[in-house]
Amino acid sequence: MLQKLETYGKLADAKVDFVEGHYAALSLVDSNGRSRFIRLDFRYYPREVIAAIQEGDTLTVIYIDAIISEGENAVLAEYYDEIKATPAIPADAWWILGISWLVIAIQPQFVFLGMVKFDLIMTTQSIFQPKGA
């Protein structure tokens, strides 16, 4: 979505049609004068900003000005730079990935499934079953 916003992004004022759970449905007029319905995903914004968004409000957004997949998405203009700077993989996920990788480094048998015959994989002498055990 960010790549498409970078390529096709346009600034516009959008009216909040309704707010539902994790998103708001907005309507705006695009650069060709057509009426468009877009979606504002709440996951990128602080709680107080989300709470302040009400039906009938007018928000300044950056939307994807093209009829392409994901073209219905938009972001609040005020938070666009912050959203762009958000790391693709959060710091917490790096811990989980690191620990998973460590487990695989110790017992990598299952990543060979489908490539090496199962009985050959299971003949491994793992660090938990020393040779001759």
Partner: protein, 293 residues
Amino acid sequence: MDLASNLAIAAGIIVEILLLWETSDRQKKNQPAPGFLSSGLSRLQEVIGLVLLVSWGVIALADYFDPPLSLGALSALQSYIMLPSFMFLFVFGMVSPKLLPRVNEQTIVVVSLVALYGLFSLTQLEWFWLAALLLPALGVFVMALTTRVIHPYLKSLLYFWYLICLFIMVLQSNFEMFIRPASELELTLFDHFIGGAAGIFLLLHSIFLVRFFLMLTALILPSNRYLMTLAMPQLFDDQQIPRLKFLGILALFGVILAFNHWSGLVASVSMLNILILLAVHFLERPLQLTERL
């Protein structure tokens, strides 16, 4: 994107999947079913030829008549193309990578040089990046000119390098053709066809790169290293074509690239993708193999 472009992408994907299947069968020395038309061709090769003929006939008709389809119908068509493609990529890239072609040092050299040519023509790199990319390429080149059978551990590292080169190609490839309106891109139907074929090939290997990176961790502990020894014969081939023929093919590829650069016959990325697909599927086929083991 119009109907003909969508069909060209779909045809490219189907032909590439059939080619992967055929290459895999041939490399595993399975006895192929004889063709209906010629005993020199296998049935699968004839099917590939037939699919090519029929699909280009349909593409030509779609391009000529250009039926005015609604955005919804075109989106549905794209979904019908993409969903089975992603299923294929997941199953044969992650779960059971049985269709990955076996490669040798010479294939890796060709793929490395093509990927690096594409990269260097797009961007200028710092000296350390240049060294990091050229040193492995030079090492593989030396290995491709020798007839020594290399150790499975080294094979695994060469194969990892090969997957990285294909990933570099993915980053260079113009996958915008799948998302941008056709009117904004000056691409021909042939570019879409090659985009579909190379796209499925490159994405298949990119998905496998994730799994292979995890497989490489088996090299850390000595007790697990035998797993890599068992896996590498599925991915790496010890047969190579004779040295002079290989150098001749490299020179031919160089001439093709230079001619295309000069004439602009085909989009640059499409030409690079064609050369990679040729190297992987056909490099050893028309030539007498040299048994090295």
